[in-house]
């Protein structure tokens, strides 16, 4: 898939309300939307698109739990086995003193883990150059895109008529 160029037919909309209606219409007509691009998060778009709930927070919980474990058991090991030191007359294994560090490492690993996962999953990161369909969809245009590889003329014509019916201000095709 990576090497294969995508032929994309996309329509640009001027308003998010029009876009929402168009997406609804496309779903009703069982058109296979490749992706929708918007310059800002459009409220209510995800459920209309039928996207599944993000699993990022599950990963976040796991990263956080790992952070908790590393900090707590790490400190427990250091201060009871590896290098026991008495601080202020407290026992070696002084749990209350571990709590702030444990909390901090939980938050740190959770946050960093989620950011890194998010970037990897989305194919983003330093030095990665993702092709954009149209520069204006990062500014003021809303876009619905269909992949047209191997689609027949009549199918493409059906998509074009969908765009004109649903109020797209512009329809273009592009190979990326």
């Amino acid at each position: 898939m990576k090497d294969q160029n995508k032929e994309v037919l996309y329509g640009l909309y001027d308003d998010d309300e029009i876009l929402l209606d168009a997406v609804k219409q496309a779903r009703e007509n069982h058109l296979d939307i490749w992706d929708v691009f918007t310059p800002f998060p459009v409220h209510g778009l995800d459920p209309i698109l039928g996207l599944a709930e993000s699993r990022l927070h599950i990963a976040g919980f796991i990263y956080g739990a790992i952070g908790t474990a590393i900090a707590f058991f790490g400190m427990s090991w250091v201060f009871t086995r590896d290098w026991p030191i008495i601080f202020g007359g407290k026992p070696y294994w002084s749990v209350p003193a571990f709590i702030p560090v444990t909390f901090e490492l939980t938050v740190l690993l959770c946050a960093i883990g989620m950011v890194v996962s998010f970037y990897i999953v989305n194919g983003q990161g330093f030095g990665v150059d993702n092709p954009t369909l149209d520069d204006r969809i990062t500014d003021d245009k809303f876009c619905i895109a269909f992949q047209t590889n191997g689609k027949s003329e009549s199918e493409i014509e059906k998509l074009r008529s969908f765009f004109s019916e649903s109020g797209a201000s512009e329809v273009n095709s592009k190979t990326i």
Binding site: R27, I48, L49, G50, A52, G88, P96
Partner: protein
């Protein structure tokens, strides 16, 4: 249905609950544990009285405070059900009466809740003598009267303006501007005065001890309880066909408050504990030493109920939107923070009670009784070491009284305010897109 009718069936149920509470309190009066009955202090009765009074008055206060804070912050989402908080704040009136009974008791010594109220003791105690500028009857009774009186004044003011907005609110929202000014005025007053009051009412039970975290800590406790009670009230009223416009979106936000303030409470709990543990100053550490050694179930149970369980249950967003999990956690937390106040009050008063009993034994020259009292702390005492059935009954009584006051106020006005400028925003409140059904049903 925008007009709530406080039907007679519910009225009867609540009155029965209040009756149960009164019966339990009467029973408690005669049920002082043998070890501390010697001083004729009726300590179990008075601690229950103080405990429930402070807990429910606090909920009324925090409801008013939340209302003021949200209004000042231009929040809109809560407007649909703001009448619930207005109604809750009315419990400040019975709360003031109950607190004044305690204040009068301090002066006339018909209870011995506070060590500092005993002039003979204070005279021989350098620590108490040093604190006597604040821990005295003028501050306790007078302060309660002035401060809670002031809270009541603000509650009445906000309520009357809110009703006036219903009747004659116009598009220029001049009444709402007035409400906002009153709300903003109330916030600093409430913050400072509530701290001073909780020091007097609860922290001074351990007269030698103090903690700079205490006011924050107990206020967080009130906040969680008030939020839990609001969630339960909303779900109850929805089940009766009211508040159809209040959806899971609003409950989700209340659930977030429940979750967030449980974590905040834990943060303060731990702060207070760790600072004292680390500094290891004798008169501060004894507070936790007593509780860990003699009240282990309450002490650790407190953390499990009020932190571990809500933290794990409410972490996922779906559990904040479902009635089942919300009801479960709300009931748990409401009881849990009642339990938290129990733990704040009982150990200190038990010590004072033993002290009084000891003195009594000495003065009447019964050496063995004094011995008896000294051992009391190390043994299990129902109603002190753990809440007994009478405590639960009293709790139910106070809860029913609180709800009776709240329902009476709810029935007096429209459930949903009519002319609040943020009403429209509140009806369209949406916090999270429902992704459960693929394809969406928007």
């Amino acid at each position: 249905m925008n007009q709530y009718t406080f039907d007679s069936k519910l009225k009867t149920t609540l009155l029965a609950g209040i009756g149960l509470g009164v019966l339990c309190m009467i029973a408690t009066w005669f049920a002082d544990p043998a070890q501390i009955a010697e001083g004729h202090t009726h300590m179990r009765f008075w601690t229950n009285f103080l405990h429930n009074t402070v807990f429910f008055t606090g909920i009324a206060f925090i409801s008013l405070f939340v209302l003021a804070a949200f209004t000042t912050a231009y929040a809109g989402w809560y407007v649909l059900f703001k009448r619930i908080w207005e109604a809750y704040s009315f419990f400040l009136i019975p709360g003031l009466i109950l607190l004044l009974i305690l204040g009068v008791g301090n002066i006339t010594h018909f209870h011995h809740l506070y060590h500092w109220a005993d002039a003979a003791e204070v005279a021989n105690d350098r620590v108490l003598l040093g604190k006597s500028g604040f821990l005295n009857n003028t501050w306790y009774t007078g302060g309660t009267l002035v401060v809670v009186g002031l809270w009541i004044f603000f509650a009445m003011k906000l309520r009357s303006l809110s009703l006036e907005e219903d009747r004659s609110g116009t598009a220029d929202y001049s009444i709402h501007r007035k409400i906002r000014i009153w709300c903003a005025t109330f916030m600093p007053i409430a913050a400072f005065s509530s701290a001073a009051m909780i020091w007097l009412w609860v922290m001074s039970v351990d007269a030698h001890w103090y903690s700079t975290m205490f006011a924050w800590y107990s206020t967080a406790s009130w906040f969680v309880s008030a939020t839990a009670l609001t969630i339960l009230m909303l779900i109850y009223l929805k089940s009766k066909g009211y508040y159809t416009q209040v959806t899971e979106e609003h409950l989700h936000d209340l659930g977030k408050f429940l979750f967030a303030f449980s974590v905040f409470w834990t943060y303060l709990w731990f702060d207070q504990y760790m600072l004292i543990w680390y500094a290891n100053v004798g008169e501060e550490t004894i507070y936790f030493k007593t509780r860990i050694d003699q009240f282990p179930v309450l002490f650790y149970g407190n953390l499990i109920i009020n932190f571990v369980l809500p933290f794990l249950i409410l972490m996922r967003n779906t559990t904040k939107r479902k009635y089942g999990t919300l009801i479960f956690t709300s009931v748990l937390l409401f009881f849990g923070h009642w339990w938290d106040f129990f733990l704040m009050i009982k150990p200190g008063t038990l010590e004072t009670a033993e002290h009084v009993a000891h003195m009594h034994a000495e003065s009447s020259d019964h050496g063995d009784h004094g011995d008896h009292a000294a051992h009391a702390a190390s043994s299990f005492i129902e109603g002190f070491t753990i809440p007994g059935l009478l405590e639960i009954g009293t709790f139910i009584g106070f809860l029913c009284l609180f709800l009776f006051v709240a329902y009476s106020q709810l029935a007096k006005a429209d459930l949903i305010p009519l002319n609040d400028p943020y009403l429209e925003e509140s009806t369209h409140h949406e916090v999270q897109q429902d992704l459960s059904g693929a394809g969406g049903h928007h």
